[in-house]
């Protein structure tokens, strides 16, 4: 599976990374395992956004809604119904995908920033419903102590579950990006008018992309429930959406693994810098400025550029 994604040295690094990820619980204390789990699922969330943002060129600025809705759907199923928890895990992403369909159908009539504005408004509407509907969602208290199947209630169980689901989702998303649908989507990003003129139904392709992105954001949402056993309205707040966008930009929104790297950078900063100063976002802001000025393709975009230089240059000289 890795072979299709990486080549040469990259493949070795990929395998090494995987082995390390699987061995981590043996080495690291519980707190760090929790952080790594959060990085994994946030990376999944950022990558799902990047499907539409980096590959689709759709300005989905309020992506956290799908994450939060997926998490809430799972949490509500777990706390309020007697159904098997495994069903709740599937329901979360499906509800998110359905919301992606509904919001997509409304927003897709507009493009670029107009899309973004409408999407942020609709997303905020969902947030306020979750925030105010005390009797159903618990309002700003959220839902705590969500019961989980025994196998997942240990930190290591939750970690391995998150790791495996994230890996599977990454594989599927990678396949989608490299499929004809992914090619068409990238064409639409670069030039919607031209795409339409070569026979692509632009709006429908974008809508499907939004549904897929919603689905994977929902997966990240239920993973959060598994790791943290809580949900709260901040998961749908637009500041989180902004943070996910920053992850994509920081890591590199034209590279597949860029958002994952961005997620890791931001969460590490938030966790460790915030122990020194509560102004950790200042560090993030300065970092962001450097990235925009010096690495416009993001951190991973820059690394890839350096690695591929040897490959591209002879072609130019030809």
């Amino acid at each position: 599976m890795l072979q299709s994604m990486l080549r040469g040295k990259g493949l070795i690094w990929g395998y090494a990374g995987l082995i390390i990820l699987f061995l981590l619980p043996l080495i690291l204390p519980r707190f760090y395992i929790y952080i790594v789990s959060i990085i994994l699922l946030t990376g999944l969330l950022a990558t799902s956004l990047n499907l539409v943002l980096g590959y689709g060129g759709i300005f989905q600025f309020h992506h956290a809604v799908f994450y939060g809705v997926g998490a809430y759907a799972t949490a509500l199923m777990l706390t309020r119904t007697g159904l098997s928890p495994w069903i709740s895990f599937i329901v979360g992403p499906i509800v998110s995908a359905a919301l992606g369909l509904i919001m997509g159908m409304i927003c897709i009539r507009l493009s670029k920033l107009y899309f973004a504005m409408l999407q942020i408004s609709l997303g905020s509407l969902v947030w306020i419903i979750v925030y105010r509907w005390y009797s159903f969602t618990g309002g700003d208290d959220g839902i705590h102590g969500i019961p989980l199947p025994e196998i997942l209630s240990s930190p290591n169980g939750a970690y391995y579950f998150t790791l495996i689901i994230t890996l599977i989702c990454f594989l599927i998303m990678y396949k989608i990006v490299k499929s004809p649908f992914g090619s068409a989507l990238q064409g639409i990003r670069d030039n919607p008018v031209r795409s339409e003129m070569i026979g692509i139904n632009v709006k429908r392709h974008q809508l499907l992309a939004l549904i897929i992105a919603g689905f994977f954001a929902g997966v990240a949402g239920f993973l959060f429930v598994v790791v943290d056993t809580t949900v709260f309205p901040d998961m749908l707040f637009w500041t989180l959406s902004l943070e996910i966008c920053i992850m994509c930009l920081l890591g590199g929104w034209f590279s597949f693994f860029g958002p994952m790297l961005g997620a890791a950078i931001i969460i590490v900063l938030r966790t460790f810098v915030s122990t020194f100063t509560s102004y950790w976002t200042l560090v993030l802001g300065i970092l962001m400025m450097f990235v925009i000025f010096f690495l416009p393709n993001g951190v991973l975009g820059y690394v890839e550029e350096k690695l591929h230089k040897g490959l591209i240059e002879p072609v130019i000289k030809e």
Binding site: F181, R189, R194, M197
Partner: protein, 249 residues
């Protein structure tokens, strides 16, 4: 094959296309000429569905295609290239054409087969025929302007068209590129039997390859006819040269 009947389009009261008429028979090469701002590109946008006409009709093979979406027009096997280069900047030359072929074969809903395994042969054939095969792995940002214009045509060919619309195919090209492009257009017409509608400012090219010419001035069709007929038409001469009694060129 294509028939445009008294089509009009105005933008905020400005009549960009005003009662234009056009007829193209199968296998012909028809040129649309006219001074800058005559409405040539707008006419093409109206035919291909990028703009909706205020009134008038477009028929293709007897079928009314007025007001269809561009992707639906494309599926009727009408393809076009653009005057201002309009390619997928971040994709390679190969991928640009490949997307077009995939779209024609309705494979863009396929989520799980890697693109690298699909329509390789067809894409290579198209690149071969337009002479871009050696540059297929470059990203389009690294192509010369002339090559990008040719890529435009290659992408249009990806839709396996019967009817090809070229909007100023040689604009901005160096002389040798222009010559190559003309050869290509002739080749498409003769070998593949495509019907071609194009607009162009270079009269040498127009009179060199067009079977018939349609002249537009201020959005209206002045005349449509054979080269000689157009060359000696008084209204055309007035439009291009002001009042005079010498033949155009």
């Amino acid at each position: 094959m294509l028939e445009v009947k008294s089509i009009s389009k105005s933008f905020d009261g400005f009549k960009a296309v005003n009662n234009a008429n056009l007829e193209v028979e199968k296998g012909e090469i028809v040129a649309v000429i006219g001074p800058n701002g005559a409405g040539k590109t707008t006419l093409f946008n109206l035919i291909t569905g990028i703009l909706k006409p205020d009134n008038g009709k477009v028929f293709f093979k007897g079928e009314d295609i007025t007001g269809l979406h561009p992707y639906q027009v494309c599926r009727k096997r009408i393809s076009r290239s653009f005057q201002i280069v309009n390619v997928f900047q971040r994709l390679t030359v190969f991928e640009n054409v490949q997307v077009s072929v995939l779209s024609r074969q309705k494979k863009t809903w396929n989520l799980f087969t890697p693109s690298t395994k699909l329509v390789i042969k067809e894409t290579n054939e198209i690149l071969e025929s337009v002479g871009l095969i050696k540059k297929k792995n470059r990203t389009t940002a690294l192509l010369s302007h002339g090559d990008r214009k040719v890529l435009e045509i290659a992408m249009a060919l990806g839709g396996n068209p019967e009817f090809l619309i070229l909007d100023e195919p040689t604009a901005g090209m160096a002389p040798e590129e222009t010559a190559r492009c003309i050869e290509l257009i002739k080749h498409l017409s003769e070998k593949l039997g495509l019907t071609i509608l194009f607009c162009e400012h270079d009269m040498e090219i127009v009179f060199g390859i067009a079977n018939r010419i349609m002249v537009m001035v201020r959005g209206a069709t002045i005349v449509q006819g054979g080269c000689d007929e157009v060359r000696c038409n008084q209204a055309v001469q007035d439009a291009y040269l002001g009042r005079s009694d010498v033949c155009l060129m």
